[in-house]
Symmetry: D3
Subunit: 164 residues, 6 copies
Amino acid sequence: MPKDHINKAICAGSFDPPSWGHINILQRTLNIVDHLIIAIGVNNAKDCTFTVEERIKLLQDVFKDEPRIEIDSFSGLLINYAEKKDVKTLIRGIRTMGDYEYEFQMALTNRKLNPNIDTIFMVTEGKYSYLSSSIVKQVASLGGSVHKMVPPNVEKALMAKLKN
Amino acid sequence: MPKDHINKAICAGSFDPPSWGHINILQRTLNIVDHLIIAIGVNNAKDCTFTVEERIKLLQDVFKDEPRIEIDSFSGLLINYAEKKDVKTLIRGIRTMGDYEYEFQMALTNRKLNPNIDTIFMVTEGKYSYLSSSIVKQVASLGGSVHKMVPPNVEKALMAKLKN
Amino acid sequence: MPKDHINKAICAGSFDPPSWGHINILQRTLNIVDHLIIAIGVNNAKDCTFTVEERIKLLQDVFKDEPRIEIDSFSGLLINYAEKKDVKTLIRGIRTMGDYEYEFQMALTNRKLNPNIDTIFMVTEGKYSYLSSSIVKQVASLGGSVHKMVPPNVEKALMAKLKN
Amino acid sequence: MPKDHINKAICAGSFDPPSWGHINILQRTLNIVDHLIIAIGVNNAKDCTFTVEERIKLLQDVFKDEPRIEIDSFSGLLINYAEKKDVKTLIRGIRTMGDYEYEFQMALTNRKLNPNIDTIFMVTEGKYSYLSSSIVKQVASLGGSVHKMVPPNVEKALMAKLKN
Amino acid sequence: MPKDHINKAICAGSFDPPSWGHINILQRTLNIVDHLIIAIGVNNAKDCTFTVEERIKLLQDVFKDEPRIEIDSFSGLLINYAEKKDVKTLIRGIRTMGDYEYEFQMALTNRKLNPNIDTIFMVTEGKYSYLSSSIVKQVASLGGSVHKMVPPNVEKALMAKLKN
Amino acid sequence: MPKDHINKAICAGSFDPPSWGHINILQRTLNIVDHLIIAIGVNNAKDCTFTVEERIKLLQDVFKDEPRIEIDSFSGLLINYAEKKDVKTLIRGIRTMGDYEYEFQMALTNRKLNPNIDTIFMVTEGKYSYLSSSIVKQVASLGGSVHKMVPPNVEKALMAKLKN
């Protein structure tokens, strides 16, 4: 008895920029859901390296052959965005225990705001466990190579951004 | 474009006995998957209070009105059982950081054994975060009431078991 | 042989704004001590939403029927404030492991500064474990409802503040 | 307005054997409460080095000049023992994050069993953070000196016990 | 000014059996020290799969081309063994936070017993972070393949052991 | 067979200002290596209390009788600095679990950038576990005494700095 509705999920984040760690989680999510929305949170308080439009473009390039992935941005509460998109499942990748504490708090807060929406977690694979967007930017800004950390289009964009 | 296959998952555990914490995770899982197999691991090394048959019966009573839940037992590697059942998704509930460390290790081990099978995690709700099967058994064995911790049929079975 | 002195404690914090999580800890503290001082730390470096006077007023409203609670503010070292108030016991609520690390460090630092003053901890109840002042402000600023997170007078004040 | 009742607390544990880490916590507790009951839990499942009677005797020797400390043993649920003794406050020392997880779980379980009884925590001082009864017994059993870890009477008792 | 003495270290453990995780740490240690003693602790209380002699043989096979590695066993306190061997440095690999807590406690205990002997830690690489001797044995005993987890000689020995 | 090369290590950090905790780790490191470079990272983004030159001077005063310690500063990636200095070993002191998470991530990142350079960790002794440069500055800025936390020359420099 297959479900009659499409099984959709949202993976929200900053993706500033997307790394191989993110991409690994996003690809594995496609094994579980029919349709995945990658949603970039527009947070004015946060000082980002790439604009929302640039990040959407970077992710579109990475996933250009994957019709089941939709890339979008949202402002306001993630829960409200999920309601608008009629999505009941949020996906989060976890790298470390520190990640887990914060994610746990957000998952419980979101359940308080709407108990019909639930968060599921996937563990980042060991080889990517050290990788975060801020590590990528820190290494690049100090002149190190990030070609093992991000896809080629992201590396190129990051190099261009740092030259300015 | 709904998926043409049934979205199945396995939630394996000892369930010795099942608590409200387990049941909360299992019910929330039904929002994500079409079919959920609750699989009791037959581990000869572990000294259990209830037999596998008793635990299957307790879970069948709890979920008697839920046709999308199947209750089973398995021996050997969980990954082999998942392959036999043609399931690609394992579900785990996490209560605490200590839980998380162990679960993280098992998830990575299972991916090493079969990279096509993935584990997803859900966070136990705050009000059940203290609850584990061993807490339930410890409280009951010391004469405390467990009626807020387990469903009535489990409480009754536990009381009967402790009288012997 | 009851002690001949009043058993006093200080619970210091930002309370920007106070949440049900804070209030739960503060009320439980009254079971242990005779007199509780809620002390708002005046920290110029920290960017707060409510002024110290507004936070004092919010807490006074919440605890208006509790004569054993005194609400005050302090600047400088908490240890010096405790000495001035002749208090030997500091109270802290802990929600998460991350909290605990920081609190542990502060408790040991305070013992180094004055070994006669000690810190005791209480665990935030499971249902409030996700709640922090920054979660409250984040949810409210993104247009979410905080009525399960803070008392009515705090919700009202927060709504008014966000309109400006 | 001092409280008209005696402010009592229970610190329960195995104390197999008591170490300087335990004693440090117990002495600091006397700054907060009028009367402290040190309660040795009689747990048949646990394999202890010293009998309950021996542990009571060791603690009585250590605290022989402290009239506000009472040393006792109990079986069954700690909450029931606390009710019988008319005590509303349980005290626990915490050394490490691992300790904290378990203690957090027990504190929440006890609140579930009786919401009028609360647990407060104190942080073991840095210099004792490595010390546990099992470390003491492990070091002694392998021929190491424990004279910095336990009081002289406990060291003597441990040496005598290991000779048998 | 090179040091006039040989820079020696001990890496103690159960190695029951040695895994690629152990071997990775041991090989990296050779970049820091001149001579490394792998010391198998003889602990009667612990129920091991391989005898001490078998584990020494397995490690000798793995490191047969490495003259700077010595394989030995010891009983009693590691600190006493280090003193006998005239070694001032102990090496430990850390995989997880849980590991770290225990290792931290043992390092501080050993410093208490002999402040001239110090412990240094190395982080297990991400790809081996899930690997422990008990995971290896658990997978093998349930019929899973461990050929990515241990060297060929260990895999062979483990298969032979499990047949008995 | 002593190694024919000098055993060198780098301990990089902000040291803003150096505390007894730092000094304890640095002195213990000299038991393991022949030559230790204390390298102050020049990070424009970080708002420091002391200039790099002032911090170099403070460390030179503290270690003026230790010819095996070299004090330097670097900008850019630590890995590039280590390559330039022909050093294969990085040393880090760890105080808390939170420290450990971040350090673990940096150690794995550095191994990704240059697998020939490795990081080793030492545990800060219990009595210094609460001490960080930010605690020192926080206490001093609030008018507390830091004479148990830093050497006399650092205390004097901090007092002078805070007067301005």
